[in-house]
Symmetry: C2
Subunit: 321 residues, 2 copies
């Protein structure tokens, strides 16, 4: 059994909540994040400093960032789309800003309403400003494993954008499978190439479980040497292109699998499950997490009782073969 | 890219339907199976010849088995728990009987209401009878990767039961992750050991997605040389120990991933998706399949329209990073 150390980054209060119709009260957000801070995550993406008009669900970004109880050893990061967002984030004393653009032109246009080159120009300015501080800079590259409008994305395109940001001195890059288009062999090839070419970058993989492959993709990324993963409590984080589909890879399912496979995730799975159980009350609906329903692998069950007719009350064969 | 041939075996009309509260009409079952026969499966588990009292959902086993239009090249198998079931199955001219017992004593008692030794004695009699015909014999070993009541199952225990059935001359064994307790490293070790020790057996892996790991476990099984997998259309097949949890690994999600990774599954994914779309109408509720909701990886979307305020109608960042 390996005991390799992995780094798990929680994104539910950003990538999850931004998709929710119901506004989660500021106090409830703070309470949840404070609880997550005790779970052993390497990083927590607290919120997004984007326009309150664009994402009303996160219109309380300053209040949340300023009022959470920050814990030693946890990196508190926030999503930042532009210079205005970066200034707001810096004023709250974040540990890291997470800049974002898409490697696909269509998706960048749809999501950010500008061309990739315009985005890059803006982000270069942001990076220039943030590098004058001690705040770390990560760049999230959306649609790095497929664009819902354009389809396949060339690996060379992804590596090219990584290079441009590496040249600007960012400390980390996240490869985002924004709409769950990644598949294992693609992930393996991309991760191996990225890991080899950018050995000095902190590299994160961000999977969505839209088509059920998030944990399989994680396995392949691990084999390619990736040790840092975004995940979302409860599997929050829907995708507007796939109504009803699940969201980000589910934190508790990711940690559960990785622990069973002998990895040291740093994360307290029981504490994460307790936190996940609070989500339906906050957002008003069930969450995609299967583990929350089924329990951990060794959460054992008692023998079914035998009914008067000699058949188990749980129908014989109901769990089949 | 590999183009290794894999063999996909559909179990929805058995492992799926047996768990459904609503009785699916016999004609509807036949129509669905006939449709599945054109999808390229290696094998279809049509029904279960168990007591109609134990599983009323499959009380029409004879009618279904006798009236489906069997297609050359597809193996039609049925679950058989005992000698009476085997006789019923043989009278319908099945290609294969799939016998079942659990490798865990508690689960065998709960599911079959007898000890493992009693089950083995019964199945030995069944095997003796069936071996006088040309009908093939597969044995499904339930709880081979964990028992919901006992927890871990020793690999030696699983291999021991495989040996006892191999010694009786069965042609295949299915290792069943009955309640979704398998995890990748366990799967890899068990499959490698089974593959090495029983090279002459047709070996099938049967995963449930109870804790989200079915596709990850499949990847590891593939690496250990497994080429044959059970799967369930729509992901049907709940587990009584995990109310609300997903069922068997979903056929369309499995085939989608395997195709993307370059395997030849023999299965027509579009035809499978069309068949899966019929399930909610038959069983009266939504199915776990994410792929049915999200569409295939390259089922592309058009650009979101921009609303009057200059924001996309789909909220900016709603698919996040």
């Amino acid at each position: 059994m390996s005991s390799k150390r992995l780094y798990i980054q929680e994104v539910a209060t950003r990538d999850g909540f931004q998709n929710e119709a119901r506004f989660v009260d500021t106090d409830a957000k703070i309470e949840l994040i404070d609880r997550l801070s005790a779970c052993g995550y390497a990083k927590i993406e607290v919120t997004s400093f984007t326009s309150p008009k664009a994402i009303p669900a996160l219109r309380d970004a300053e209040a949340v960032m300023q009022q959470i109880a920050r814990r030693e050893g946890v990196v508190y990061t926030v999503l930042v789309p532009n210079l205005r967002g970066a200034e707001r984030a810096l004023s709250c004393g974040v540990d890291e800003v997470n800049l974002v653009m898409s490697v696909s032109e269509s998706h960048n246009n749809a999501n950010l309403r500008m061309s990739r080159e315009q985005s890059f120009d803006q982000l270069r300015d942001v990076i220039g400003e943030v590098r004058q501080t001690k705040v770390a800079i990560n760049v999230s590259l959306s649609t790095a494993m497929g664009c819902p409008m354009e389809g396949d994305i060339d690996q060379a395109e992804v590596l090219g954008w990584m290079q441009r940001f590496a040249d600007l001195g960012v400390h980390g890059v996240t490869l985002c499978d924004t709409t769950g288009m990644a598949y294992p062999s693609l992930v393996g090839a991309l991760c191996a190439a990225a890991r080899e070419r950018f050995a000095a970058l902190e590299l994160t993989l961000h999977f969505h479980n839209t088509r059920g492959m998030a944990l399989a993709n994680t396995l392949t990324a691990l084999e390619a040497g990736i040790d840092r993963f975004d995940a979302s409590l409860g599997g929050l984080g829907g995708c507007p292109y796939a109504p009803g589909a699940t969201g980000n890879v589910c934190t508790e399912e990711l940690v559960h699998m990785l622990e069973l496979d002998g990895y040291d995730t740093g994360v307290d799975l029981a504490a994460v499950l307790s936190a996940s159980a609070l989500l339906p009350g906050l957002i008003g609906h069930d969450v995609p997490s299967q583990l929350l329903k089924a329990g951990r692998r060794l959460d054992l069950h008692s023998m079914p009782r035998i009914a008067a007719d000699g058949l188990p009350e749980q129908r014989a064969f109901s769990s089949g073969a």
